[in-house]
Amino acid sequence: MIQLQNVSKRYPSGQEALSGVSLSMRPGDMAFLTGHSGAGKSTLLKLIALIERPSRGQIAVNGQNLANLRRRGVPFHRRNIGIIFQDHHLLHDRTVFDNVALPLVIAGYRPQEIGRRVRAALDKVGLLHKEKALPVTLSSGEQQRVGIARAVVNRPPILLADEPTGNLDPDLSREIMNLFLVFNQLGATVLIASHDLELISTLGKPMIRLHDGRRIDATDTA
């Protein structure tokens, strides 16, 4: 599902964010990406979502070699990936419903279908009663759950999350992680960057450890 072979990323500034990283996730796998701040976690997720391009090495997602994907193909690639950010990236002038509906609007669903799917997604994250609220009126944990609902509403086969619990207290963090476990059980391939080792070590999922842009765990686990 997600394959990296000897991937390196050097930013234009000269910073080598990733050096020779390989990993392989099969459909339905779930893994955590850990490492100190600046280890290259975000960079790795950005490469998979084609927010950045690798300097060296090969990345394949869903059997598609990303090097062959032109600019025009990028949006369609991203529709197969639900991305969750630490700072939510919600649109503040639109309701919770409209935020969650955005991927469906983009993909060209009809209004009735959109209503059905948005409510189903909001129901899964427990925010059905907030559909008319504006994001600013929600707590940080609720905003994060709206972000998750938006990421899953299109039922993408892949979920990427970059420090989704970074701003949350332990209880809320556990709640959010449980949501990801549920979506993984429903069949999604899930990769989560997090340095909350205490929490993720209890979840029984493989960890991909990065240090200064290199993998430091045994490469064969995930």
Binding site: I51, H77, R78, R79, P103, I106, G108, R110, P111
Partner: protein
């Protein structure tokens, strides 16, 4: 990846096709809503566009009115044919009846030597000087009005020549030179207005382009987010293009209003002026074609301006 995409439940072809229309309708309404929510900024932009469109339109309409007026003058042109001194009034009157039968002549008014003298006496106030002469120095005059079909320069010149060729006629004179000068001046005016229209059209393009550019900058965050969740360039472009379209269309509509009201304001003084010349001339306002033209021009300029802005500024906004 293609395969996996097909495996998941996706909108059917038909629902996609309908959704394409939905998407456009949605973007159209959405962009209108955006304008509605910032009424002051919108009104400012729309007014600037409207003035830029109204100015050349108003001038062109005035020119058209002047041309109409000039055309009326030209067709009411008469040719004055002065008889030689030897021709008596009775002979001149006979000649007048003869000329009336010419195909290019509409009517002939005969003014005898006595009438000419009386008129001159009255108008010039030189009665005493005329009394000093023992003979009437004025010839009889035939005022020849050409038919409407003859009321264009070449035919008129032909008619003047034919009158001139008559032995009884000393001198025939067509007084249209000033009308021709008027038309020449109006041609200069028209060219000038065309240049102004071109420049102001360019101004509308730039105004809309700049407004949309600012709009794009203000919604940078939103553009990044929608790109991240898989929006195509076309999807992101659409509301901005429709925004420009609305600016242009609303500007065109306001321009229609401005032009109509301005002409209405001129109507009173113009009627008064025309009255002084015994004319019932009235300014004609923008017709349906002018209105349509303004709306279409506004819409196209708005769309063009936003197209330029979108082409230049949307691509460079990418998630990082």
């Amino acid at each position: 990846m293609k395969q996996a995409r097909r495996n998941r439940t996706k909108p059917s072809v038909r629902s996609r096709f309908g959704a394409w229309g939905d998407n456009h309708a949605r973007a159209l309404l959405f962009s209108l809503g955006k304008l509605y929510r910032s009424p002051v900024a919108t009104l400012l932009t729309v007014t600037v566009i409207a003035i830029a469109l109204a100015l050349p339109t108003g001038l062109l309409l005035l020119l058209a009115n002047l041309e109409r007026l000039g055309g009326g003058l030209e067709s009411s042109t008469t040719i004055s044919a002065f008889t030689t001194q030897q021709v008596q009034d009775s002979a001149a009157a006979r000649l007048a009846r003869e000329i009336t039968d010419w195909p290019e002549v509409g009517a002939v008014e005969f003014r005898s030597r006595e009438q000419a003298l009386a008129e001159f006496r009255e108008r010039s106030g030189l009665g005493a000087a005329l009394d000093a002469l023992d003979e009437n120095p004025l010839p009889a005059v035939l005022l020849v009005t050409p038919t409407a079909a003859t009321a264009e320069p070449d035919a008129l010149a032909g008619l003047v020549e034919r009158l001139q060729a008559l032995p009884e006629v000393e001198f025939a004179q067509l007084d249209t030179l000033w009308v021709q000068r008027l038309f020449a001046i109006m041609n200069v005016g028209r060219r000038g207005v065309e240049v102004i229209a071109l420049l102001l059209g360019l101004a509308v393009l730039l105004v809309v382009g700049n407004t949309i550019r600012l709009d794009i900058q203000n919604r940078r965050e939103e553009i990044v987010v929608t790109k991240l969740i898989g929006a195509t360039d076309a999807f992101i472009r659409r509301p901005f293009l429709y925004g420009g379209l609305w600016y242009g269309l609303l500007g065109g509509g306001l321009a229609v209003l401005i032009v109509s009201v301005s002409l209405l304001a001129l109507q009173g003084p113009v009627s008064h002026l025309a009255g002084l010349y015994d004319s019932s001339f009235r300014l004609s306002g923008p017709g349906p074609l002018d209105v349509l033209g303004l709306l279409v021009a506004g819409t196209l300029l708005g769309l063009g301006g936003s197209w330029i802005a979108v082409g230049r500024h949307l691509r460079e906004i990418e998630p990082s």
